[in-house]
Amino acid sequence: MPGRAKKEEYKQVSVSEFFEKNRHILGFDSAQKSLFMIVKEAVDNSLDACEERAILPEIKVSVDRVKDDIFRITVEDNGPGIERTVVPRVFGQLLYGSRFHVLRQTRGQQGLGITASILYGQSTSGEPCIITTKRREDEVAFHFVLGIDVRSNKADLKVEEPIIWDRESGTSITITAKGRYVTGKQSIMEYLKEVAVVNPNARIQFTDPDGKTVTFERSINEPAKPSRPTKPHPYGIELGELLSLSQFTESTDIVKMLATEFSRVSENSATEIVQKAGVDPGMNPKDLTKEQAESLMKAIGETKLMPPTGESLSPISEQFIRLGMLAVYGEERPSFFGKPVSGKVRIYKGNPFSVEVGMVYGGDLPSDQPVRIVRYANKVPLLFQPGSCAITQAISDIDWRQLGFDQKQGKGVPYGPAIILVHVHGPRLPYISESKEAIAPIEEIMDEIKNVIRIEVRQLRKFNSRAERNKKIGEKFNLVSVVVPEIAKKASEILSKEIPDCTMVITRIANVVFVREDIINENGVKISRSSVVNYTMDKISMNLKIVFPFGEKDMEIRDLEPSKSYIFDQELSRITGGYSGAEYYFTGINPVYVQGAEELPADWNLKGVETVEE
């Protein structure tokens, strides 16, 4: 009967017990995914820990077959290590340590994932997990053998002993679990590869069950900037969260609580909210009723507040995406590496988020295949459920045909030789499920993804049109510098006469000043050679501005004689991998006489390679 259930029906279920029975919620829903999930949770935690302490990550992952379908997974890092006394709670207790009212962008699921992994291992193999951890400040490391007591949701500590571990700091975790080892698109290897792309400062080593080791080397010695914890913005709060917060807070009255626990809420606006809600400003937050909380929520919605800041956001950064894509996708020898684009801070339901996009194009990438989409949420690769993800859907919504790709009826994933990297990040991203496999297709997020992708792809078009223009100029240049002299040479050979002087003919044909770039190799050094060739009949003078991806160069050319060249060499040692070519701008000469350069805009306030948002 309603309202009066029998007591035994309400038997308390511990969190651990609940997850053991509902593994799929955290992603342990198939044998092949389980091994992947364990590696992912451990690696995410390692990277988070290193990032927090500005350590250059050094991560070793190995998967061994114990027997049949039982595997032993070890993930070892050089992170800060964990204080001995908290180890049982950190690893053995679900939901420990997630101070949910602090907003912070991290990879891991805050204590959920790794414990679930241990729990999964324990229940499928019967083996406890083995942990070794050492902090820089401790003399010795500590070795733990630990299981989870499902009933009490607590660690079942079997062994704890100090050991000698020859390293400054770090943590190693070994979990034995049942599973199926797979390769391919949704594999541990693919995951680590994509991790390597966005963590170019990490050295990641992977040893598979056959003993084969692959290492992704570090390409930059710079720690990632850690994300900063921030308070939540009231626009993004849920009723339940507000109620729990009122129990946790140390504030003694409701106005103080609003002003201290939230970002962008001053004492004044807190008072305004409380008054609008008709709640006593002096009331103790612990006495807040559900009805009062609802009124407060409504009042928050009606009160004008400063939008959330992006402080809590931790982008991968343009530099890291560039270097990472270069290092990992360089083997495809793409002809174009886009400069990654970071979008502005946007808000979805009061929560800040931002989008980053990187792209490589051409080279050995197949042009008759769908473009490869590499998805990330909070720096974590998303390998599953691509079709349900905001990233895939946003890409499918764009009409790529205008951007020079093939796309059936202007819908769906386009075809072309490209890898598109999309990173959506923010402290509270909406996922389609608890296992965080895909970003929910929320309109605000989809719109921003499309927006940033368009900016990125615009660069590609610029690159393509520059290549096209260079080709045309190259042809004309070839005509006057190679073919016409060849005609003169052949004609004189046949007639047994002296080779006539072609200068006049060449000048007549061209009658321009050519500006062109050649990429040459001198003793292994890649050099951009800019040539200005005067194919007019008069001496010329001009100012030339060369814009390289890394900076600009201004030069004055004075009294260049007809058919003479002015050469400028620039070493490209600072550019690794793809180089999209220099841009040329000029002043001080009639534009009709110049080919291969553009007239500099009158204001000289050149943005150059800066990608400007529309």
Partner: protein, 350 residues
């Protein structure tokens, strides 16, 4: 040839952009030479200038070709068009991209220099077609002696093979005992007429064209027509491509209109299958393909086909949307072509 090179050389020396003007070799630029009855190039010219990449490349390739020909002439050698195409491999940036390109260039050179490719010691890959009939010729053999051959009595079933050079220094027409020349498109029909002794019964010289006839075949037809006063009849399939075979023999080909006066037989008559024959004889047919239709429509725009006869036949063929082969006449038995069809056609016309 050197004159042409000198022009280029001189304009470079004068500081002028070298240019080549040559007759436009398209069907828009062929006009009827009413005196000779053949179609020749009109006054339209195309300008190839070194100002543009295409023109400059053409000029460079032409110079390479001229140098090659001059060297070959100096050594008294000759080569095939195909060999020249392969030799151009060594010209790197100026090599020919396809056999067609080198053939066209040689034809352009004929137009420019008013010489024949034989003068350049360039010959086609394939020999001409074959002849069976009571005609006697003399051909100079490799020992430089003229050898007399009767094309009925001194040859096998395949007939006398026409060499690539049929000018009088190589081939002399001696005598004949025939009333006409019947030129056939296909080998099957040639064999049929030979087997049925059409050459003897109707005092005909049979010529197998082997599809679109080679220059030497057309030239020899012309010589036999002019020097021996033999009328020429062309017996082909009934489709647009066969009409073109007839046109190239009778009126001159568009590509070689600069030498129409030397190749074409303006009095040649068409006795091939027409659209009317398809209807009259109720012949087995095939449907026209898209390419056939396009070719027929192109012929309606072609000045050479601008006669009542051709217009009505082409339009009828388009209307019935059908074509037929020569061999379709076998529907009425193997002797139908020699006993009925050809005698009717030839009588009708003579």
């Amino acid at each position: 040839m050197k004159n042409f090179v000198r022009q280029i050389y001189d304009s470079i020396q004068r500081g002028e952009i070298p240019e080549i003007r040559l007759k436009s070799r398209t069907k828009e630029n062929i006009v009827l030479d009413s005196l000779l009855g053949v179609w020749k190039y009109g006054d339209q010219e195309v300008l190839r200038s070194a100002k543009k990449m295409d023109g400059a490349q053409f000029m460079a390739k032409t110079l390479y070709t001229i140098q090659f020909i001059l060297e070959m002439l100096g050594e008294s050698k000759s080569s095939t068009l195909r060999e020249m195409y392969y030799i151009s491999e060594g010209w790197k940036d100026y090599k020919f991209t396809a056999q067609d390109e080198s053939n066209l260039l040689v034809e352009d050179m004929e137009v420019i220099t008013e010489l024949l490719r034989e003068d350049f010691h360039l010959r086609p890959e394939e020999n001409g077609a074959s002849i069976i009939g009571n005609i006697t010729i003399e051909e100079k053999n490799r020992k430089n002696e003229f050898k007399r051959i009767n094309c009925r009595d001194d040859v096998g079933d395949a007939g006398y093979t026409i060499p690539y050079n049929v000018e009088s220094e190589k081939l002399r027409l001696i005598s004949h005992d025939a009333d006409m020349i019947v030129a056939l498109e296909t080998g099957g029909m040639f064999d049929r007429l030979v087997e049925n002794k059409f050459d003897e019964d109707f005092r005909a010289v049979l010529v197998h064209l082997k599809g679109q006839p080679a220059r030497s075949t057309r030239r020899l037809l012309k010589r036999m027509n002019e020097e021996m006063n033999l009328p020429v009849y062309i017996f082909t399939d009934g489709d647009p491509w066969s009409f073109r075979i007839y046109a190239s023999i009778a009126y001159g080909a568009i590509k070689t209109a600069h030498i129409s006066h030397w190749l074409a037989v303006p009095t040649a008559e068409f006795v091939g299958i027409t659209a009317s024959d398809i209807l009259t004889y109720d012949l087995p047919t095939d449907k026209l393909s898209d390419k056939d239709v396009a070719a027929l429509n192109a012929e309606l725009q072609d000045p050479r086909f601008n006669t009542e006869f051709w217009k009505s036949e082409i339009e009828t063929m388009l209307k019935i949307n059908q074509k037929a082969e020569q061999q379709a006449l076998a529907k009425y038995g193997l002797n139908f072509v020699t006993e009925t069809y050809l005698p009717e056609k030839l009588n009708l016309r003579s």
